[in-house]
């Protein structure tokens, strides 16, 4: 991958960090966590796709194994929360 691409990704990551930092001061109520987590998710997506080369990975196994583990984590989180919320 080109150095220019990496630099652009880095600039994007820094800008997103700035957004998380400034949004945190606004107190948008219950949305704050959601906003912070979606920005963190976007940043992780950038790191995974470009720095960790998942975007250019051609083997099928990578395209299956990684979303699978993330799905397990999601099930894990949602089951825990449905338990805690309705106890």
């Amino acid at each position: 991958m080109k150095t220019r691409t990496y630099l652009l990704v880095w600039v994007g990551l820094i800008i997103l960090t700035g957004i998380t930092f400034s949004v945190a001061g606004f107190h948008p109520g219950g949305w704050a966590v959601l906003v912070a987590l979606s920005i963190a998710g976007t940043k992780s997506g950038l790191v995974l796709s470009y720095f960790m080369h998942l975007k250019s990975e051609k083997e099928l196994v990578f395209k299956i194994a990684i979303p699978l583990v993330l799905a397990v984590l999601l099930v894990f989180i949602s089951l825990t929360f449905s338990d805690v919320a309705f106890r």
């Binding site: 995974l48 984590l73 989180i77 929360f81």
Partner: protein, 206 residues
Amino acid sequence: MSETTGFTLEGKRDYTGAKLGMWLFLLSEILLFGGMFVLYSVYRYKNPADFHHASEELDVILGTLNTLILLTSSLTMAVSISAIQKGRRKLSAFLLVATMAFGLLFLVNKGFEWTAKIDHCIYPNSPTLLTRMKGEILFFGLYYVMTGLHGLHVLVGVGVLSVMLILLLKEKINQNHFTALENSGLYWHLVDIIWIFLYPLFYLIT
């Protein structure tokens, strides 16, 4: 053949296998930290006010600075790998040293942060902390465990990268064989991703 599958018999190297092995390890790390994030979320859900108050005591500026440091170290790591792929060994080694320096700088900041907290008598099971609200005790417990485990990962990362630097200087890692460096990079980036989540969850609770 080797072009399409990344597998050669002569050299007995299996790049895809090596990378897949690294990814399996990283996925287990994701589940390890994932479990801790679930624990954090449940406690925060149950004690929102305490978490908010405790979070305000953390040094946001230092946390943000550490985020920028770690993101930049990921950039130098990624460019170091692409440099060796182009055969530019010196540039690659320089960027690798820069990555390690950023990692150490991160740990130094973390050290300052922890020392400041410990000076205020806030550490797990400290008499001062135990007199506070239940949620605040939980927050600082999670803060020490999660940033501590993350810091340990950064330290291990610096160790792994210094081995890579030696291999790079000995030309064991070169334009044709760079999988070890690539895999170390994957680890480094994952540690960065974990921090990307730790940062808003600990420092920026509104």
